[in-house]
Structure formats: C-alpha cells, structure tokens
C-alpha cells in the first residue's frame, strides 16, 4: 500500500473558529472489532532500554487499541477504568492490579512504546510516537561508509542526539477554544484540522464513542512548528457559507429547494477532498508495518520528502484487512524538517559521499556542505577535512579561471 485510504469516512461541512477550520469525518458504521481507548499517564514516565539506560519523559496521554473482538463492540469505552486494568500493570505484578492506584509512586516504567501484554488482545501505544520515531530514526546510524569528511563522533554515534521540537496543542493559539466549541456530528469518527487553511493534522478512530472520549486529547497532542506559526500569524479564515442559486425559475417549490440544499452538502464534500485534503490523500507514502494486531495492521508512514511546496505529513495508521483506515494520526512537517529528510535520503543514496551527493543533486561540493550545516548536522562533519577540500576546490577554480 502506498496511499491513505479513507473509504467509509464521509466529509461533513467544516466548522470555523478564528483561524482554525475543523472538518468532521463521519462513518456510517463503526469499524467492527477494534476499539481505541485513552490511557492517562500521571507524572513522569521512565522507559527501559535494552542496554540498561533509561530515559524519563512526560507523557500527556496514550492510546490502547483493543481488538478483543465480539465482546468489545458491546462494551463502552469507559474513561480510565478498563485502561488501568491490565494494560498498564508492571510485569511481575498479578494482573488486575490497577496501575493508577494512589499508593503508586509517580514515576512509572513503560517498557516499550508499542506494547502488548502476554495473552492480551490489546496494544498500548503513544499517539504519534511511532510516527516521530520513524522520522527521527531516518538513517539514524549515520554514515555507512567511512569517508574522511565525517567526524569520528558521527561514525561512532551516528546522528545523535536526535531531537525535534514540537508545540503542544494548548500553546497553538486558538486551537483549544476551537476544539471546545466544535459540535460533534453523530457518528463522527475523526477530523481534519486546518490552521490558516493549511492541513495541520488528521485524526481518525474506529468508533464514534471512542472519538467522543478522545476529542479533548487533540489539545494535548503535538503540532509542528509550521502549525504554531500559522496559528500565531494567520488571521481568521472565511466560512464557506452555502449559496443557493435561485435565478430564473430554478426553484419553484419546496422539493426544488430541498434538492438545492442537499446539493450544497455534496458540493462541500467534493470541494474539500479535491482541494483542501488533496496533498494528504494523494501523496504516496513509504509505509512500514510496526505491529500486527489480529486482523489489523499498525503502520507508520513517511512522506517522499519531495521539495517544491507540497505539504508533507508523517503519521501512523491502523488498517483493516482491506487496507481501509481504522485509525490515523498525522503530524505535519515544517519546511526545514522536509529539507532535512530530503538531504538525509540523498546522502544515504550516495553512501554518504559528499562529492557524489553533490553530483546527484546537480550542485557543488560547497553547496552540499552548506546544506548539511543548514540542516543542523554541521557538527558531524570533520571541519578540518572539509575546509581542506573546499580550499582545494577554490584553488582549482582559480586555476581554471587563469587558464581562460
């Protein structure tokens, strides 16, 4: 699969609040057999890594995907209750002891980011963690061939430290208010979030009841730098109000009027898919399956890192057997992040050889060095060797000029 397939999800008219436009996605019937619940982590979390190091983190919330099948359809997604039971218990403690019990110390150990307990038909994972990890781990190991230009540090430790900044939802101006006043549609299973009419995030869940509980978590999610800037500097966006053409006897009775009104709804859906969400739906992504959960597959995807103004999203998606989306969450990359991804891909294609990369990109050695530095990877270059090479190039150019 190369594209995101939103079959079964219908678009409903957008609701606008200031610079934020929210487009609801509605399912006729929920995806059978999969539920998504919210897990709230309190305090800081600590993650165990195989090499006995640990990193601590603050986690606003996590998701629990539950494909236990027939039973779960009838059960409701109750906030907090089922989640604490089992899914978050420490290995070794008898299952059934709730993690969130008050006597626990606030630091929790979280073993892996997508974690399934033995014998359980549910999976706990952190929203967007998979997607971001996918992006951060792009050629994480660093140069694959030991070229002179790369510093010893780069060869030994790779592209470390790997970090990207993002903004929490509540720091994006106007977003919290827009999510608060948004009116959920019956059967709503997702939304597309636009800030200053740029697609900021897509979020889809399998069941409307899950969506109702998870809607407020959107304000705790992370959003790209671009989204924050657009929200900060962008003005209010216009509302696409309905307009019925009634000239020259077009509407003679109530039935005509009703047909015209229905037509307005359809017109909106077509315009939206073709115009506003095109880049998300028509880009082909590189999918990587992370987990197989019964009949469902958990993927993360990376964009092609094409330059030239198209919006690029990373994200994670759960699909059913037919490849239709049951769960989707995306993160919009900023221009700088796209450039970085592009450059890393090019470098990897040329075995990290700067000269060959320059050829492949159709540019000069000096330009590639500049780009590497602009992408925040300058520290990985061996400054001495690079300078030597640049000086040699300059000398060569000088000689050529003299010869002319």
């Amino acid at each position: 699969m190369t594209r995101i397939d939103l079959t079964g999800l219908d678009v409903r008219p957008a609701q606008v609040w200031g610079g934020v436009r929210i487009v609801p996605l509605v399912r006729n019937e929920p995806v059978p057999g999969l539920r998504l619940h919210r897990k709230v982590y309190e305090g800081r979390g600590a993650v165990d890594l195989p090499d006995r190091t640990a990193y601590t983190s603050y986690i606003p919330h996590g998701f629990v995907a539950d494909w236990s099948g027939t039973g779960s359809g009838a059960e409701s997604a109750a906030y907090g209750t089922r989640l604490g039971d089992g899914a978050g218990t420490r290995t070794g403690t008898p299952s059934g002891v709730p993690w969130g019990a008050p006597e626990c110390v606030p630091v929790r150990r979280i073993h892996r980011m997508a974690k399934r307990r033995q014998g359980e038909r549910r999976l706990r994972f952190l929203p967007l963690h998979l997607a971001l990890e996918g992006y951060l781990a792009l050629h994480f190991g660093g140069p694959s061939v030991v070229w002179d230009e790369w510093s010893r540090e780069a060869l030994r430790h790779g592209l470390s430290p790997r970090a990207e900044a993002a903004y929490a939802g509540w720091t994006v101006p106007g977003l919290a208010e827009a999510l608060r006043v948004f009116e959920l549609h019956p059967g709503q299973c997702g939304l597309l979030l636009y800030v200053a009419d740029a697609l900021a995030a897509a979020f889809v869940v399998p069941h409307p009841e899950d969506y109702r509980l998870l809607h407020p978590t959107l304000v705790e999610d992370l959003y790209g730098e671009l989204v924050h800037q657009y929200a900060y500097y962008g003005g209010p966006v216009p509302e696409f109000t309905a307009r019925i053409r009634d000239g020259a006897g077009g509407i003679r009775n109530l039935a005509d009027l009703r047909a015209a009104a229905r037509e307005q709804e359809r017109a909106w859906a077509v315009a939206h898919d073709g115009l506003m969400a095109r880049d998300l739906l028509e880009t082909s992504y590189a999918f990587e399956r992370v987990y197989r959960a019964g009949p469902f597959d958990l993927y993360r995807f990376l964009p092609p890192f094409e330059r030239g103004g198209r919006e690029q999203h990373i994200g994670e998606v759960i699909t059913d057997r037919k490849g239709r989306t049951a769960y989707l969450k995306t993160f919009r990359l900023s221009e700088k992040q796209i450039r970085k991804g592009y450059l890393l891909h090019r470098l990897a294609d040329c075995d990290w050889h700067l000269g060959r990369t320059a050829e492949a990109l159709g540019t000069s050695y000096a330009e590639v060095v500049l780009r590497v530095r602009a992408a925040g990877l300058g520290a990985l270059l061996d400054a001495h060797r690079v300078e030597e090479r640049l000086r040699a190039d300059r000398g060569k150019n000088g000689r050529i000029k003299e010869a002319e």
């Binding site: 009116e183 959920l184 109000t241 309905a242 019925i244 307005q264």
Partner: protein
C-alpha cells in the same frame, strides 16, 4: 432613513438587554460580554435617552435593568421627566439582593445626587420587613443607609446594624433569633435559609437534618435549588425547564407524567388568553451542543427551547403544532445538548408542514452546512412565499458580544433576543419591528404603550 437607523439601534439594544447577562456564554468570555454591553449601554443612553429609560418597562433582564438604573442615576444632568417613576417601578420588581448590589455600585461610583438619595430612601421605606432585610442583607442595608444618610427603620434594627453590642435582647423576633442563633441551635430555624445555613455550618448541624427542619422557611427557588420536593405546579416555565434538564435521564423517564404535566400547566398559565389562538405553528428548536451554554449559564439556551416548545404547544390551535429538534429527536423531555446544528434542513422540514407561523429558537450558529438556514429562508421568502402567508420569527437566547446583537439567520427574518420562554409572545411582537417595515414612530408608540402599562401595573401593585 435616520428613522430606520434609530429603530434598528433601539431594537439592537433591546435584544442585548434581554439576552446578555455579562456572564460567560458558550462562545464568548464574560469580559467580552461585559465590554460589549457597556458600549451598547453608553451608546443608547447618550443617543436615545428617553428610549433608554423606557426599556425598563420591557422584559429586559435584571442585570441590564440594574445597569440601566445605574447609568440613569449617574447622569442626572441629562435626565428626562418621568424617569424617576420608571426607576422606582422597576426597582420594586427587582430581587432585593440585586438592588442592594446596585446601591453598593452607586456608592462605589460616588453617585449621591438628590434624586438618587430620594429613590434609594423610597425603596428602603417600602421594604415590608426591615428586620428581615437587616438579618438577610445586613451589609447591603448598612451600606445603603450610610450612603443616603437614610433614617433608621426603627431603633432596634438600627442598633442591630450599627451598634450590635448595645442590646442584650431584641423585641423583634427575627433580630432576637439571629442573636440567639449564635449559641442556640433551635433558634436558627427561625431565620431565613441563607442566614441559617451559615449558623448550621458553625454548629455542625448535619445537612440533611438542617434541610429537613428549615424547609418551611425556604423560598420557592431555594427549595428547587436544594432539590427538595418543590411544588412544581407554581414554578415559572423556564425555571421548570431548567429543573427538568438538570435531572438524569432515568429520573426524567420515571417522572414523565408529573414533569410533562407541570410543564404543560406552566405553559398554559403563561399563554393565558392567547392559548390556542396562533393557528398552525411549526417550531425549529436548537438542541445542538452549543445549547449547553456555559458553566455559569448551564443549559440555558436548551431550557429556553424546551420552555418555548411547551408554550408554543399551548399557543397553537389544538393538534396543529409541529416541533422539530435539530438533533432529529422527538421526545422533548429527553433532550440533551449534542451534535451539530443543521438548521437549514430542519427549517425545510418545518416549512413542509405548511404552517401559519414558524418560530426558530436557536443561537444563530448554523453550521451543517454554514449559512444554509439563511439561504433557505431567503429563497423561501423571495421565490416561494413572497406574499408572506407564513410569518417567520427567530428567537435567540444568546447575545453575540462581537456583533453587539443576537446573531441573525437572514436579513429577511426578524430576530429577537429571548431569555425566558415566558416572554415569547411579547418578543414576537417586538420582532415585527425588526423587519424594517415599521419606522421609529411606531416603535416609540409601542414603547409608550408598554411604559404606560408597566407604570399602571406598578401603581396597582403599590396600591394593594
């Protein structure tokens, strides 16, 4: 032209004064509301002073009535004749806590002209039981008396307020109960509920026991608020609707007959002589998520819609009433604020029934798709019903701070603000002025008529 502008300005103000309470709404904050309202008050006071005073005779809410009175008293140099009577009549109708708050605001603003003093003194003199006021609104009464140099109601009350240590006991039962309640539990049941509540906490009386024994001293509203078995048959319609909406679904189903009966009775009482006189009526009632109001006005818009539902049922000819909730539900007792607002399609459904009157109760945010309601109403008016067989009125319970008015659905549809469903009939009358077909003169005539009625009613009330 200026005539029309004036009429529009006045209606704008009336809409605001009916709906806005300076509290947070679903979509705007309290600060925005107050800021917007302050501008409107000043604008209308400066430009249309007589109309500004006359608005006291309309069904504007208490918050705005108090604001109008304060503004009028602060600017005595612009006063018009007849204002004093209007202020006095409205003060008599306001709940005492709000009046005391108003007096305190006047004191804080340093307003102490002769007219103000006379009005405050007259209001204090007309209070039926000064001792009760002294106990219940102690600081308010003290502040008011100090501010206007008022005469003490009687020596005992005076001592109670200003020299509490002077007397060992009071002849007056209420004052004496207050004295004894400091150390005697039994005495607190002779005090008003709100005062006794503090003493009960001090003595550590269990809440259940306290509520049981104080019940005879509670007002109607206090009973409703503490969920005691209030007599639902005497509650006003909107209060009752709010009460019903505060109950969980299970209880609403259990008490369906009782609640429906009470709502129907209240609606019939409100409709009075007009019951059954409106012909075929269709109503589009908004129960979208935004009708949940805000933390301070919880479910107010929905309660207004629910009240309007029962009132319209009473006003319509028997069996000729069609209610349409935006959510598509058909059980008014089980409404809840949920979902989007597809007003346009609901209005079409309503027009399908061929009504004489169409009443829309909504906050004016039409979002599925946005603006469709306005388009449907426009096309309906221009293409399908140019001879106005159906009258359409939009009643809006929410003040839009940004627009200085309630939000409209379409320019061709008159919109009026509404706070209590009880005022529906009167507001529909005002709304006709908003259609722009009647001028300022007619509006003034209407206002004068209302003022006259209001003052006459106040005079009768005082005579009794």
């Amino acid at each position: 032209m200026s005539d029309l502008v004036a009429a529009e300005d006045v209606l704008l103000f009336v809409n605001a004064a009916v709906t806005a309470t300076g509290q947070r709404e679903f979509r705007s904050s309290a600060a925005e509301q107050r800021f917007s309202l302050a501008f409107l008050h000043e604008y209308v006071r400066v430009n249309y002073r007589p109309v500004y005073a006359a608005s006291l005779a309309l069904d504007i809410n208490d918050h705005n009535a108090a604001l109008v009175i304060e503004q009028l008293l602060r600017t005595p140099e612009e006063a018009e004749p007849g204002e004093g009577r209007l202020i006095a009549a409205r003060l008599a109708k306001l709940p005492p806590p709000r009046v005391y708050r108003l007096f305190r605001a006047l004191r804080a603003a340093g307003v102490n002209n002769r007219r103000t003093r006379a009005i405050v003194r007259a209001w204090l003199a007309a209070r039926p039981d000064p001792a009760l006021d002294a106990v219940k609104y102690r600081s308010g009464l003290k502040a008011a008396l100090r501010h206007v140099h008022g005469r003490l109601p009687d020596p005992e009350t005076g001592d109670f307020l200003f020299a509490p240590g002077r007397r060992v006991r009071y002849e007056n039962a209420t004052l004496d109960a207050h004295r004894r309640a400091h150390y005697e539990q039994g005495a607190l049941y002779e005090l008003p509920f709100t005062v006794a509540e503090g003493f009960a906490a001090k003595h550590g009386v269990p809440r259940a026991v306290f509520l049981e024994r104080i019940a005879p001293r509670m007002t109607r509203l206090e009973k409703l608020r503490t969920a005691r078995a209030a007599d639902l048959s005497v509650m006003p319609l909107t209060r009752l609707a709010l009460f019903v909406l505060s109950l969980p679904f299970g209880e609403r189903v259990e008490r369906r007959a009782e609640l429906t009966g009470a709502l129907r009775a209240a609606a019939r009482r409100t409709a009075g002589p007009y019951a059954g006189s409106w012909g075929r009526v269709a109503a589009v009632l908004d129960d979208s998520f935004s009708s949940s109001g805000s933390a301070v006005k919880r479910r107010r818009p929905l309660a207004v819609a629910l009240g309007a539902h029962f009132l319209l049922e009473a006003l319509a000819a028997p069996g000729a009433y069609t209610p349409l909730w935006t959510s598509g539900g058909d059980d008014p007792l089980l409404v809840r604020p949920y979902g989007p607002t597809p007003l346009g399609l609901r209005i079409l459904d309503a027009l399908d029934t061929g009504p004489d009157r169409l009443v829309i109760v909504s906050d004016g945010w039409d979002n599925a798709p946005p603006g469709l309601a306005g388009e449907v109403l426009r096309v309906w008016r221009t293409r399908l019903d140019p001879e106005r067989r159906t009258s359409v009125v939009h009643l809006n319970p929410v003040y839009d701070a940004e627009g200085f008015d309630v939000r409209r659905l379409a320019p061709s549809v008159p919109a009026a603000g509404i706070r209590d469903a009880e005022d529906l009939a009167a507001l529909v009358e005002i709304a006709q002025f908003a259609e722009g077909r009647t001028g300022f003169g007619e509006l003034r005539a209407y206002l004068d008529r209302r003022v006259e009625l209001f003052l006459r009613a106040a005079g009768e009330g005082a005579g009794r």
